[in-house]
Amino acid sequence: MSATAEPHVGRPLRRKEDPRLITGRARYVDDISLPGTLWAAFVRSPEAHASIVSIDTSAATARPGIHAVLTGEDMADLAGPLPMAWAPPGVEVNNPPHWPLARGSVKHVGDPVAVVLGEDRYAVVDAAEDVIVAYEPLPVAIDPEQAIAGAPYVHPELGTNQVHSWTLAGGDLEAGFAAADVTIQRRVINHRIAGAPIEPRGVLADYRAGALTLHTSTQVPHFVRLFVALLLGLSEEKVRVIAPEVGGGFGAKLQVYGEEIVACWASRALGRPVKWIETRSENMSVTHQGRDQIATVRMGATRDGQITAYHVKILADLGAYNMLLTPLIPSLGAFVMGGCYKIGAVTTEITGVFTNKCPTDAIRGAGRPEATHMIEVMMDQMARELGIDRLDLRRRNFIPKEDFPAAVATGVIYDSGDYVASLDKLLEHVDVDAFRAEQAQLREQGIYRGIGFSTYTEICGLAPSRITGPAGVGVGAGLWESAMVRVHNTGAVTVYTGTSPHGQGLETAFAQIVADRLGVDPSVVEVIHGDTGTGPEGRGTYGSRSLANGGEAVAKATDKVVAKAAKIVAAELEAAPEDIEVSGGKFSVKGSPEKGMTLAEVAGIAYIGAVPEGMEPGLEETTFNDPENFVFPFGAHACIVDVDTATGKVNVVRYVAVDDCGNPVNPLLIAGQVHGGIAYGIGQALYEHVVYDDDGQLVTGSFVNYALPTAAELPNFELDHTITPSPSNSMGVKGVGEAGTIAATPAVTNAVIDALAPLGVDYINMPLTPMRVWRTIQEAQAR
């Protein structure tokens, strides 16, 4: 075991995860086989809304190798429907039952009606086609604005399509608008997108001798365990949920899905393991989607560019059912609705509406990309209205550095920020004057080039239970995080984290944190995650929480180990524990590094039991971390685009991002998260759009017609950073998994508007597809 004096934290270590992934030796759900496994295939509704008249399973059941065909009726003993875990105090949320297999009616295309279980992966698909379901089609609600106005109803028993109405208001809005010289209003659309991890979902359930093991491609194994246990009437400790290698999540796997419940139920009923692997078509129609908000946004400002009031009314299309956090998601944006600006009055009013579409829920950024898109597009619109440079307008309204921690109108306290510094850093890379000259020159050649900016902050590190929990925002569980650190006899270390990474590289980042504190090399620190049967209770990976919350838990648990080790070493070296330090790979007395002990030597004493009197043997500690505040990463992005005015096609020429996520643990991982986040945002802005037709048929049912960006559409990204440590945790870190996505869509949109300004285009809504852009140009020209 070697250890360098140089800390591992802050270095771009290549990932511990990668050897298994680059050689094809990783194990995703579909790579795991159990003897005697039955395959499952679902029979799904082709109708957007219908009553189920009858289900004839006889032909399917009669096929060779088919063991059972189950319907909602067969699963009548479920303890309840699928969960929705948000109960905001004082707000009524309509929450009709959502069953794993439909009971009596279907509410969107893809709604599961039956499941076929059999010996062979292909044969169950054949048999599913032999299940005859008679539907009585019902009128559909597709357009959210029509749906909120009245019938037809998605859930007729409610007599309304409204899910809920929720408001967050801070400051005197009326006075704010009264103080404004100029008020502008825009209709801002954040359209529906798919999470689209490249690994679709998959489950493998194995019920044996009273205990259930579920392998599932999830971001939240502990939540899944809780609800599997509740719905199946099992005691929670009898259920073990394992998230093996998970091929991307992006929020789409922050869910408790019906297929998980059905597979577990069927495994118990049939006494065999049950496996289901989602097809891409299923993924596009039933794995929860995101965004889908229509907002009326009003902003007031004084003539000299002080924003005085900001009012956002959102109609959120939530689809056919509430899933785990469906109606909560738009609210997450409300807390940062004012962006990085000092605005005295900010009000967000959200109305959720049911439609006959796939439910929405958390997708990368979850509410915050929508909020950031609105404020950043509106800042450009206001700048144009006032005739003030759009970066100047931003600077005039930035929350100043000296205000932090800054209490904002939306009721939260921004932990730290230096927005001027990140914008200044961005402008070191982007010479706006030179760009304007180039732009003018290109226009003479008929090339329409534009530049767009986005200065953002976001709220993440989802934690403080007192704010997010039942008494606060109303999530049904505290969002703390756990860690257990075990030092082995050998001096190697195993870390158990309650987070559940799926590509973020936490095995590496957490090992770096532990290695420095214990004086070992990261190569001897193994990080175990995603298994409810091993470490302590945990909360999973989402909301850019894993480092700020889970990593902090790892740091605290490690510090407890260090404290105990120091006592052991102090007794051995006849020194005071407070004089023991970790340096050069050894625990030693300050000033006498030659007499130190390695971690392995300390562990030897701890496990032999020759510990100081009154001390328990062993060297293992657990922490449950519940931070006092969120973290608020921020930054400044610039996007340069060319627009082909003949076709409407937008090409991203250059993308520059300056992000601040506090103290960096691993710069390589941070860059990777930012790259992927930006691509996700560009994807939404330019290409991706989940489309339903007027009958509720899904038009974008596969990757043939849902356009994910490829390598050929994207540029290299130019990154830089500032470092403003967070006071919310001891390491000064912030999350970075969603920042790029949150920042990117307005940068792209503002760039397109800038490019087309000479043609009279002053506003456009996403997605900026060639057709949309071309039409906008034509309309502007016709004015």
């Binding site: 094809g24 091929g247 891409r280 078509s281 994207l714």
Partner: protein, 163 residues
């Protein structure tokens, strides 16, 4: 189903005789029959490329080929490209340059890149981006994938892949 047929495949240098349904996809023969689970399935429509393998040296999407169509062929999968202690320069480059996150698209991405470099040992950035436009990644934004392919090319990865 309608009986089975015999298929002869040489996979990663090892000869196999398989009894498969005529409709069995090559990817399922590799994954479920031969246990080579490094090749992944990400879509039903041959858009994502997670299932990319080499068939007689060419990159193909193994979810869009029947096993019987590969009769008598030599197939190379990610497992045959290189293993721990014996990494192919592309595998090494993806590791060094952080060219992967969740890893699901990675085997297909590496196999597609290997086929590119076998044809064009020193591609430009634009050529790499164009060549990989049949392989989708949702995590990396492609930035580090492109970087990895270019650095592997620099390191001489363009030598033909043994199969």
């Amino acid at each position: 189903m309608s009986g089975s047929v015999t298929v002869h495949l040489t996979v990663n240098g090892v000869e196999h005789e398989l009894e498969v349904e005529p409709r069995r996809l090559l990817v399922h023969a590799l994954r479920d029959d031969l246990g080579l689970t490094g090749t992944h399935v990400g879509c039903d429509t041959s858009n994502c490329g997670a299932c990319t393998v080499h068939l007689n040296g060419d990159a193909v999407k193994s979810c869009t080929i029947l096993a019987v169509q590969a009769e008598g062929s030599a197939v190379t999968t990610i497992e045959g490209l290189g293993g721990e202690g014996n990494l192919h320069p592309l595998q090494e480059a993806f590791w060094n340059d952080h060219g992967l996150q969740c890893g699901y698209c990675t085997p297909g991405m590496i196999m597609a890149s290997a086929a590119l470099l076998a044809e064009n040992a020193h591609p430009s950035e634009a050529e790499v981006r164009h060549a990989l436009d049949g392989n989708l990644c949702r995590c990396t934004g492609y930035h580090n994938i492109v970087k990895a392919v270019l650095s592997a090319a620099e390191a001489g990865a363009g030598a033909p892949v043994a199969s």
